[in-house]
Amino acid sequence: MTDLTLTLLVPLLGAILVMVAPWGERTSRPIGIVAALVSLGQSLFIVRDFDKSIGAFQMAVDRPWVPSLGIRFHLGVDGISLWLVLLTTLMVFLTLLSPQAMGLHKTRSREFTVAILVLEAGMLGTFLAVDLFAFYVFWELMLIPMYFIIGIWGGERRLYAAIKFVIFTLVGSLLMLAAILYLYAQVHAVTGQWTFDYATWATITLPRGPELLCFLAFTLAFMIKVPLVPLHTWLPDAHVEAPTGGSVILAAVLLKFGAYGFLRFALPFFPLAAQQTAPIIAWLAVAGIIFGALMAWVQDDVKKLVAYSSVSHLGFVVLGILVLSQKGIQGGIFQMLAHGISTGGLFLAVGILYDRRHTRRLSDFGGLWKPMPVFGACFLVMVLASAGLPGLCGFVGEFLVLLGTFTAGKDWQASGLAAPMFAHPALLAGLAAFAVILAAVYLLTTYQRVMFGPLDKPENRDPQVRDLGLRERLVFAVLVLTALVMGMAPQPILDRTAASVQELTANYRFRLAEARANPIGPARRVVAGKPSARPASAPAGTARPF
């Protein structure tokens, strides 16, 4: 049996060890790499021990934290979070392993390692938390390390980017905190007990007005993280200014929390509000897919280009989740993983280019295949994976999402969803598919302009422009292999997400039907099998309007 607490503790202990280690700068990175490796090993054990037939949370750790307030230290893993945990530990390990993680900065590697490890603990905790209080604590724990990573090791405009990142993120998460507190009081009013337990919260249906407000508060927090157009403006700044390691973690893992939170909390807690606002969010997602692709096309800064391609790719995730069918959500989850690998790899590649040439302008490159053939091959795989070439990881997710969206109308009817999520799913699928072509265009042009053509610029012939070193080869070997395996054999991944997604969609359908049937009901508990169950102990008149 694996212990999830340990998974969280290892990075934290590693961070403390790095902090107090008397040898300082020189040993900090190796200690960090070992801690990240242990963490990666543990998450592999979690995958091994995971029972794919169970949809609910597994390997639960449930200890009282503050019992009088109903706060429990409750962790668990299910099909939705399982692979994201592995992605987190893998990308943190690769980041620490990569020599370019701190960008061009060569000093303060001790603080950098501490920040990355604390960030890892926060990310893992957020994915694993089953208690809403614990979730919020871990969610906020991610903020400060990332702020430091951008602010200390970032580029010229790092202060601006760092504070923008913090303000955007905090606007969302503080409103979410208010909504969490409101729900917490409502859950108490309905069930008579103070609890932050996820399973209990997912059975509470709020009255209409408060439900919509709380949904918007949660969704704002998540949509800023994704980010969804028009809330994306912090992302290009953060990505461009962040050091390579920061960009990799930001793209590969942090952005996933938006989609993850939306799927895990916003949909199950507020079924009716989600269904009512789904058309708007779906159109924003598609707008983001196309807008991101178009913006990426016209960028001259490679890092900004990859950042905008992120906006585009994550639109697919949101669209897939909103389709609320097995195909769509599983595709969305797969797309999150694939985007983590491919975009993480692209940011690493950009980091290596920047390290060699000290520029990120497309027009400064050209003909780099000659001095850097190994890099060229690895970069190519990442580019193709990102463009969604069949056989690589990017294809599976995008295909499932598009298929799911295209057939959504039929799926909704077949599964008995009380109302369609949004109109014209086929149109949306068509528009999104158009962006896949755009992605191929901008990604391949970029690759061509960087790697091919004559090696005519003298700076590119400098001996400084050398091929991958040993550690870089190791990092890219892992990424290329993962992209290939995920593309060739996606089934083991999909298998393990199936049960949880099924449970989530079934619960959603049930609760949406109940909410639509009682449009002006008070706050109530809705449990499958016994609709509108409300214990007699609940105080009367608790469902006053907001």
Partner: protein, 490 residues
């Protein structure tokens, strides 16, 4: 009135602090140097802490003292503990600070104890007269402490403003007491006022008296619009005294308000309704936190910024007081936990502020803090943790305190707007707290950092950071203490 031995024992923490304060004053005139008075004061604090613990273990029920002038209960003992620890921390920081800046007086130590004794009287008070005596003892000692740094012109200015406005506030308190006394038929004990309140609630003079008392107390916690003295007094005072004002004195005043509002004026006719203090205090809470945070944005001086931050925190605390008036579940323990977390954080922050300055170079501007993380990484990290606690970012005590208070307020639908406003206020506050972090971590040092070796400051800083983190990560013990119980689990 009988004075039984049991009552003396019950009040032993308060009596010890008062007595040791007097002895320290005497000792200072007789002994050579300042050290004996300092040591006596510190030992007195430790002894009083033990006495608090002894009382806590000894009795579970509350005990009226001296015909209901004072009360000894778990809440008072909890706040006694916070106040004494604040005093001890102030003594530990003040001694090296005064030595560095060459204005060491032995009376200083006695005055810290007198201010603390006044504060303890306030949280024990269940009678308007004992409240008044406590407030005045505390304030008079504080005026002197603010003015004690005679070479500092800002100190005299701050002290004068503090004294004048404080005297004004005292006037409000006395006048309010007189009106309440007259309209309730000669009642000054909280229980007596509460018993007559239902009948007197229609009497405009009684309501005026209640609001006069409230105004006097709001002066003391520096609520908007009665906050004008605070930035000047905080800036002018020697930094350890500023720490004491922001922690101990604020804790005592809020504790006094909890008692006054929670018992004497808890009557629904007085609390709720159109002109009830719940609504009024809700508006003041909003104004206080918003104005405090907005004004803090523009400060370049760290002490002034922290003064406005302290005003903003008074606003958050008043949300708890408003929740208390709505009689929701857990408002009082929430306030106590918030106060404990806030006091620990503030003491730590002002310790760092006291630490950075050397003689004739206080380094009070934010830009003076540039690059601290390079040469003093441990202090910079500690300061960051403390600032995040002030901003209410988990996993710190400041976050947990806020969460607990907001939880209380959220139970009443009328207060949801205040919680949302408070949450958005924290966003504003993050911006200015992070300005200090930016200077410490992201900027290059402009001037060399000279270490200020002081064991006392190091101890205070270490303990406060540990406490702040512990309150955020394992809040269970303090939650159980604040709820009036014994700690059962760690």
């Amino acid at each position: 009135m009988t004075i039984a031995a049991a009552q003396i024992v019950a009040l032993s923490p308060l009596l010890m602090i008062t007595g040791v304060g007097c002895l320290a004053l005497l000792l200072d005139t007789m002994a050579k140097g300042r050290a004996p008075a300092l040591w006596l004061a510190q030992l007195g604090c430790v002894a009083a802490l033990l006495a608090v613990a002894n009382q806590w273990m000894g009795s579970g029920s509350s005990q009226p003292i001296w015909s209901g002038m004072l009360i000894v209960d778990r809440m008072a003992l909890f706040l006694d503990g916070v106040l004494i620890i604040a005093a001890l921390a102030t003594l530990l920081v003040a001694a090296p600070f005064m030595r560095e800046h060459e204005f060491e007086h032995g009376e200083h130590y006695a005055l810290v104890l007198f201010a603390t004794a006044g504060g303890m009287t306030v949280v024990h008070a269940t009678h308007l007269l004992s409240l008044l005596i406590g407030i005045e003892t505390m304030s008079l000692a504080a005026y002197l402490l603010v003015a004690s740094w005679r070479r500092q012109p800002a100190g005299a200015e701050g002290a004068l403003k503090y004294l004048l406005l404080g005297a004004f506030a005292a006037g409000f308190l006395v006048y309010g007491t007189a009106l309440v006394y007259g309209t309730t038929g000669g009642e000054m004990s909280y229980a007596g006022i509460a018993a007559r309140a239902a009948r007197a609630a229609d009497n405009p003079l009684f309501i005026m008296g209640a609001y006069f008392l409230l105004t006097g107390m709001l002066f003391k916690i520096a609520a908007v619009p009665f906050h004008m003295w605070a930035p000047d007094a905080y800036e002018g005072a020697p930094t350890p005294v500023t720490g004491l004002m922001a922690s101990g004195i604020k804790v005592a005043a809020v504790g006094g308000l909890v008692r006054l509002l929670g018992s004497a004026f808890a009557n629904p006719g007085l609390a709720l309704g159109h002109a009830g203090w719940v609504r009024v205090l809700g508006g003041i809470a909003f104004a206080t936190m918003t104005w405090g945070n907005l004004a803090a944005l523009r400060q370049e001086n760290v002490k002034r910024m922290l003064a406005y931050s302290s005003i903003a925190h008074a606003g958050y605390l008043m949300i708890g007081l408003v929740a208390l008036g709505q009689k929701v579940d857990g408002a009082q323990p929430a306030l106590l936990v918030y106060l404990a977390a806030y006091a620990a954080t503030t003491l730590g922050v002002f310790t760092v502020v006291a630490w950075v300055g050397r003689r004739d170079d206080e380094r009070l501007l934010i830009r003076d803090w540039a690059g601290m993380a390079r040469t003093r990484p441990a202090v910079a990290l500690a300061m960051t943790v403390l600032l995040l606690s002030l901003a209410g970012v988990p996993p710190t005590g400041g976050f947990f305190g806020k969460f607990y208070v907001f939880r209380a307020a959220m139970q009443s639908p009328d207060l949801a707007w205040l919680v949302v406003a408070a949450v958005l206020n924290s966003l504003v506050s993050v911006y200015y707290y992070l300005r200090i972090v930016v200077a410490m971590y992201f900027r290059d040092p402009v001037r060399p950092w000279q270490p200020f070796p002081s064991v006392g400051m190091a101890i205070v800083l270490f303990v406060t950071v540990v406490v702040v983190l512990a309150l955020g990560v394992v809040p269970r013990p303090v939650v159980e203490l604040a709820a009036g119980g014994l700690v059962t689990h760690w």
